[in-house]
Subunit: 354 residues, 2 copies
């Protein structure tokens, strides 16, 4: 493998000195880019795109070609590959989001759930290897997974949502059934992320997209504890270099102190948290990744620059900040505004690294 | 008017001594009750129900008749009566949620927005008077409004949602336009709530259902500041008694300290906040209302009782807690579980008021 030419992102996750604040954008390979839409059209369905290593490589590299200021790339894939490999039958209906053919609501179905054979996810690891090779050392490659709780919400509800009434009903009425799903997910995710690391991922991120829907107490029991278990089971080194882990609970800003104890190198922050206050709360335990509201990218370059400057000033002097959005970039973003965002981060962050 | 026979709720909002922790449920008159569904069927559409004082009175009193342990009633109405009175054309399509015929996205439309004549909302005040009379002093009657920001999201988007991209785009690209909407909403809400108080409301609540979607900084500018203005403009006394105000930003648990300074007597809490931690953070400035996850009512009486006991223990000894759900009761709730919830609050709260 070609030596890494830009390790700013990895150094920031380890709270080591960098010349500027590194930046990437969640969902940076996506529908806001015309080149992505063209490849997606060639590929067919969304899962066809994920399953084809060449297409997945092409779209992963598209934002890097357009935006030389990006400091990281992320595997193009979906968080629902795991439940799909477990046999639940994933499909994406146009404008409807993901759907599963089977749901886990009956005890008999739940008890049958088991860690899938990683060979059923080989297409993901092939994509990782292909992307890593194509990157040729430009920037690090991030592998990722959904969290056990977040995957469970889709597996129990059968689709996306925001209130997760069936999953929560199970959490309170039949907690042992939900714990079986969560434990199976956690064991699967350990294997899945370690296989991504083996295939070439240089950092990993756990997306707990729906952990913020839980109560204070339930978050620890049904989401955080399983992410801790995953982090403890991760491969810590690859190619003689540490593989850092970012944990991101969207809507979890109230629980940063508990998250900081989970063993992750960095915590993702959504935009509801003031990043300076977050830094005070977690001290030197972890780096922080975030946290511009992606809706701001719909406004103007001047407004974007002002908000970027505000976030950098709030974090303040020193290391340990990876700039990002607080959630994925929306499909309605003008690619020029994304560029203005990246330029603003570079321009305004130099002063905090002297 | 008949003298109030149970003022436990009002005393708790004022952090005065009570014999037990009072309780009510957001959306307690609603689709989980068969008697509500029957009245709704007689009334026709949802707005037909809101516009008819007798029907609104009937459904407001239904949960009180079923559950003698309820310590408050709340006007049956909708938060979108105000934009409807402003001429935006509200309708509810089956299974789709609210829709507006007109949206506020063009500068010319926004500049025409003005405080509506309160006579266009007379049906709400008539309902308040009718309900207050029918209550005959059993429990206090709560009036309410959506917050300026929350109403603005519907007025700009034209419908419900969770990301509010058009509204946020305006907030960052054309803040003066959004501020005109918010200021108009705030001035309208002051008149609207004061007219409810004059018509018989004994407490008022501001529902900032979507304030939690804003960034830390934007929350103060676009939501909290306008709620402060409303609270400053509210009638403080009626019938020789203080009219307390509850402010509730769902998803706003990170910002309780700022909320506690807004002038409200009490803050609503959703279930993501630990109520004991919230109490420590706000000190003796305000009472707290909340905060059981309504999804828990879908489980079992035993699980409900356990969570109720946990929340009461977390709040601890003393006054200033009104028990409630962290959001509206869902239509899928078994009415017996709602009863188990109310009984658990009474049973377990006595020990904290000795």
């Amino acid at each position: 493998m070609m030596e890494l030419q830009n390790d700013t992102f990895l150094r920031a996750l380890n709270r080591e000195a960098t010349d500027y604040t590194p930046v990437w954008m969640m969902r940076q390979a996506g529908r806001y880019l015309p080149e992505y839409k063209a490849t997606r059209k060639d590929a067919g369905s969304f899962m066809d795109l994920c399953r084809n290593a060449q297409f997945a490589t092409d779209v992963t590299l598209q934002p890097l070609d357009r935006y030389p200021l990006l400091d990281a790339s992320i595997l193009f894939s979906d968080i629902l590959t795991i439940p799909d490999a477990m046999g639940l039958g994933l499909s994406f209906e146009a404008g409807e989001g993901p759907r599963f053919a089977k749901v886990l609501q009956e005890e008999a179905d739940i008890k049958k759930l088991a860690v899938p054979d990683m060979s059923d996810l080989q297409y993901v690891f092939n994509a990782v290897t292909s992307i890593r090779k194509a990157l040729n050392g430009r920037v690090p490659l991030i592998g990722f997974s959904g969290s056990p709780w977040t995957l469970a919400t889709y597996m129990v509800e059968g689709k996306g949502g925001t209130d997760f009434l069936n999953t929560k009903k199970m959490a309170y009425a039949r907690p042992e059934l939900l714990h079986h799903i969560l434990e199976t997910n956690a064991q699967t995710i350990i294997q899945y992320l370690n296989a991504q690391i083996e295939a070439g991922a240089q950092a990993v991120m756990i997306f707990d997209s729906w952990g913020g829907a839980l109560s204070h107490h339930a978050y620890e029991e049904f989401s955080l504890n399983y992410m801790k278990k995953i982090i403890a089971g991760l491969t810590k080194q690859a190619d003689g270099r540490k593989v850092p882990c970012v944990m991101f609970t969207k809507g979890g800003g109230l629980w940063l102190e508990a998250q900081a104890e989970a063993g992750a190198d960095a915590l993702g922050l959504d935009w509801t948290v003031d990043i300076g206050q977050a830094r005070s709360r977690v001290g030197n335990q972890v780096a922080l990744q975030g946290n511009l509201d992606p809706a701001i990218l719909l406004s103007t370059p001047a407004a974007i620059e002002k908000e970027v400057a505000r976030i950098l000033a709030s974090y303040g002097q020193g290391n340990g900040h990876v700039f990002n959005l607080g959630h994925g970039i929306t499909q309605w973003t003008d690619p020029e505004n994304a560029g203005a965002f990246l330029e603003a981060v570079r321009k305004h962050s130099l002063q905090y690294h002297q």
